[in-house]
C-alpha cells in the first residue's frame, strides 16, 4: 500500500517557488493497478517519483508499506528502491550492456546473489517476457516493444512488490502498446504486483487500470474506480481526456442533435447486461421509438460496458424510463 498524506512539492525556479504538486491525499491499494492520468506538466511524473524518492517532497509524508520514505537513510533508501521496480518511456537501457546484463544489473548492484543464481533468474525473467533468444543482443538491435520488455524484466529482477511505470507505452505503436499492457496485467495477477502507471492516454487507463486519479495543474481533480471515472467523468479535464480517447464530445453532440425530436438520454450498461437485447424489448413493451445517436461498446479491463446516446419519442416515456432503471441501466437525461 502506498499513501500520500498531504504531500506537496515545489521547485525553486529563478528564486521563486513554483508548485508542481498541491497538497495531495491519495491511497493506492496493494496488488492493484493504479493509473495517474493528466496532460503534460500536470504533476503526474512528480507524484510517481515521490514514491521511490527520486523526488523529495517539500512537505507531507509518503508512506510505502507503512514506512515514511523521508525517514530512510542511504541504506534504507537503497533497500526500498530494490522493492520498487521502475520502467520508463524511453526504456533507459544501457546501450553498452547486453540484454541479459541489463536485466542482471539491479541484482549485481544489490550484491546479494551469487553469479549462478543471477544468471538463472535473468534467464527465467527473459523467458517470461518472451525474449529468451535475445539474451546476447544489445538494446540497439531490438524493437521498441522488445526494449520495453527488457525494461520490465530488469524492473522485476529484484522481485519488487511495486512497479512504477513512467509513460511506459507512450513511445510505442498501438499494437505494441496493447501487448505491453497485456503483459503488465498478467504480471499484476501472477505476482500480486502493485502497479502505479502514469499516462496521458485514457485508452491505457481503460485497458489495464483498476482505479484512476486525474491530475490537473498539480492537483488530483477526480479519483475513483476506472469504470466510474471513465463512464461518468465529472471534472472538465477528465471529460476532455475521455473525449480525446473516444473522439467524441458530448456537449457538441447535444448541440448537433438540436433538430432530433424527443427526449435525449444516455444509457450506461456494465457487465453481462451489456449484451442483453434491451432496446428491442423496450420498444415492443412500451411503444417508444428509439434512434441511436451515438454510442460505444467496449471493455474496461475485462468488464464489458456499453454507453449509448438515444432519442426516444412516442409511446409511454415514463414507463420506458422506469423499465430501464429496473434493468440495471444507468440513465442520464440529457434533454
Amino acid at each position: 500500500m502506498i499513501e500520500f498524506d498531504d504531500v506537496h512539492k515545489a521547485y525553486r525556479v529563478g528564486g521563486r517557488d513554483v508548485a508542481a504538486l498541491q497538497p495531495t491525499r491519495l491511497t493506492i491499494a496493494a496488488g492493484r493497478i493504479f493509473g495517474l492520468i493528466g496532460h503534460s506538466g500536470a504533476g503526474k511524473s512528480t507524484l510517481l517519483r515521490l514514491i521511490n524518492r527520486l523526488e523529495e517532497p517539500s512537505g507531507g509524508r509518503v508512506l510505502v508499506e507503512g514506512v515514511d520514505v523521508a525517514t530512510l537513510d542511504g541504506e534504507g533508501l537503497r533497500r526500498l528502491r530494490q522493492r520498487i521496480g521502475m520502467i520508463f518511456q524511453h526504456f533507459n537501457l544501457l546501450a553498452s550492456k547486453t540484454v541479459a546484463d541489463n536485466v542482471a544489473l539491479p541484482l549485481k548492484l544489490a550484491g546479494e546473489l551469487p553469479r549462478r543464481e543471477i544468471d538463472a533468474r535473468v534467464a527465467r525473467l527473459l523467458a517470461r517476457v518472451g525474449l529468451a533468444e535475445h539474451a546476447g543482443k544489445y538494446p540497439a538491435q531490438l524493437s521498441g516493444g522488445q526494449k520495453q520488455r527488457v525494461g520490465i524484466a530488469r524492473a522485476l529482477a529484484t522481485e519488487p512488490s511495486i512497479l512504477l511505470c513512467d509513460e511506459a507505452t507512450s513511445a510505442l505503436d498501438p499494437q505494441t502498446t496493447a501487448s505491453v499492457l497485456q503483459l503488465l496485467a498478467e504480471l499484476n495477477r501472477e505476482l500480486n504486483l502493485t502497479i502505479v502507471l502514469i499516462t496521458h492516454e485514457m485508452e491505457v487507463i481503460r485497458r489495464v487500470c483498476d482505479r484512476v486519479a486525474v491530475l490537473d495543474a498539480g492537483a488530483i481533480v477526480e479519483e475513483g474506480p476506472v469504470a466510474e471515472v471513465f463512464l461518468h467523468p465529472r471534472h472538465p479535464t477528465t471529460r476532455r481526456l475521455v473525449s480525446e480517447a473516444e473522439h467524441l464530445d458530448e456537449r457538441e453532440q447535444v448541440d448537433d442533435f438540436a433538430h432530433v425530436p424527443g427526449r435525449i438520454l444516455r444509457l450506461t450498461v456494465q457487465g453481462e447486461a451489456t449484451y442483453a437485447p434491451l432496446l428491442g424489448r423496450l420498444a415492443r413493451e412500451t411503444g417508444v421509438d428509439y434512434s441511436i445517436l451515438a454510442g460505444r461498446i467496449d471493455r474496461i479491463r475485462d468488464q464489458p460496458y456499453g454507453q449509448l446516446t438515444l432519442a426516444l419519442s412516442g409511446g409511454d416515456l415514463d414507463q420506458a424510463l422506469s423499465r430501464l432503471q429496473a434493468a440495471e441501466v444507468q440513465v442520464e437525461v440529457l434533454r
Partner: protein, 221 residues
C-alpha cells in the same frame, strides 16, 4: 639518391623514435590515470549532477583552465622544481613526462567530463531507481555508457601529446619532433625534416585509426 638523404642517420632517428614512444606511452598512462578521476569528479560536481557542488566545481574548473591556458613550453620550464621532485631529474625522457602529464591531464579531464555529459540522464535515473550508490552509478552505468566517448578522448589526447613531445627537446628529452627542430629546421637538413615528419604522421595515423576502430567496436550500435 644517396645525396638526397645525405644527412640521415638512421641510428639517431631510431633513438629519437624510441624516445617519442617512451614519452608518449609514459605520459599517456599517467594522464589517463589522473585525468579520468578528475573528469569524473568535474562531471559529478557540475550543476544539477549527482554531487552538485558549486564551490568545488568552480575551484577544479579554475585549476583546469589555468593549466590549459599556459603554453606548454612555459609549463615545461615552470615545472622544473616539481619535476625534480617527482622524477628525480628534470632532464631527458623522465624529465619530460611530468610536464607532459601536467599539460595533458586537464585537457583530457575536460574531454571526459564532456563524454559523461553525453550519457542520457534517464540512464542515471534508472540506475538510481535500482538503488545504486553514486559509486555504483559511476562504475556500472556512467563509465560503460561513456566508453566510446572516453576512448575518443584518449585518442585525441594521445595525438596532442605527440605534438607536445616535440617541445620536450628543451629539457633534452629528444624525440622525433626535437630532431625535426634541431636538424631539419635549425641546420636546414630538409631530408631529416621530411623523414621525421613522415614518421610522426605515421604515428598519428596509427593512433587515430586504432582509436576510431575501438570507438566503433564499443558503440554497440
Amino acid at each position: 639518391m644517396e645525396a638526397l638523404f645525405a644527412n640521415l642517420d638512421w641510428y639517431e632517428i631510431g633513438i629519437a623514435g624510441l624516445d617519442t614512444l617512451l614519452m608518449l606511452g609514459g605520459s599517456l598512462l599517467f594522464t589517463v590515470l589522473l585525468g579520468l578521476p578528475l573528469g569524473v569528479l568535474l562531471f559529478l560536481c557540475g550543476p544539477h549532477q549527482l554531487l552538485a557542488n558549486r564551490p568545488l566545481y568552480g575551484l577544479l574548473s579554475l585549476l583546469v583552465n589555468l593549466l590549459r591556458s599556459l603554453p606548454f613550453i612555459i609549463l615545461l620550464i615552470v615545472m622544473i622544481p616539481v619535476t625534480l621532485l617527482l622524477a628525480g631529474t628534470s632532464l631527458g625522457v623522465a624529465g619530460a613526462i611530468p610536464p607532459l602529464v601536467a599539460g595533458a591531464t586537464p585537457f583530457f579531464a575536460r574531454l571526459v567530463e564532456t563524454a559523461l555529459r553525453e550519457v542520457d540522464r534517464g540512464i542515471i535515473e534508472a540506475t538510481q531507481a535500482m538503488g545504486a550508490t553514486t559509486r555504483q552509478i559511476v562504475w556500472n552505468a556512467l563509465l560503460p555508457e561513456a566508453r566510446p566517448g572516453i576512448i575518443a578522448a584518449v585518442t585525441v589526447t594521445a595525438i596532442t601529446l605527440v605534438s607536445y613531445t616535440a617541445m620536450a627537446g628543451v629539457v633534452g628529452a629528444g624525440g622525433l619532433g626535437d630532431l625535426a627542430i634541431r636538424f631539419g629546421y635549425q641546420r636546414f637538413q630538409t631530408d631529416v625534416m621530411v623523414v621525421t615528419v613522415a614518421l610522426l604522421l605515421a604515428l598519428v595515423q596509427v593512433l587515430q585509426n586504432l582509436g576510431d576502430r575501438l570507438v566503433v567496436h564499443f558503440s554497440r550500435k
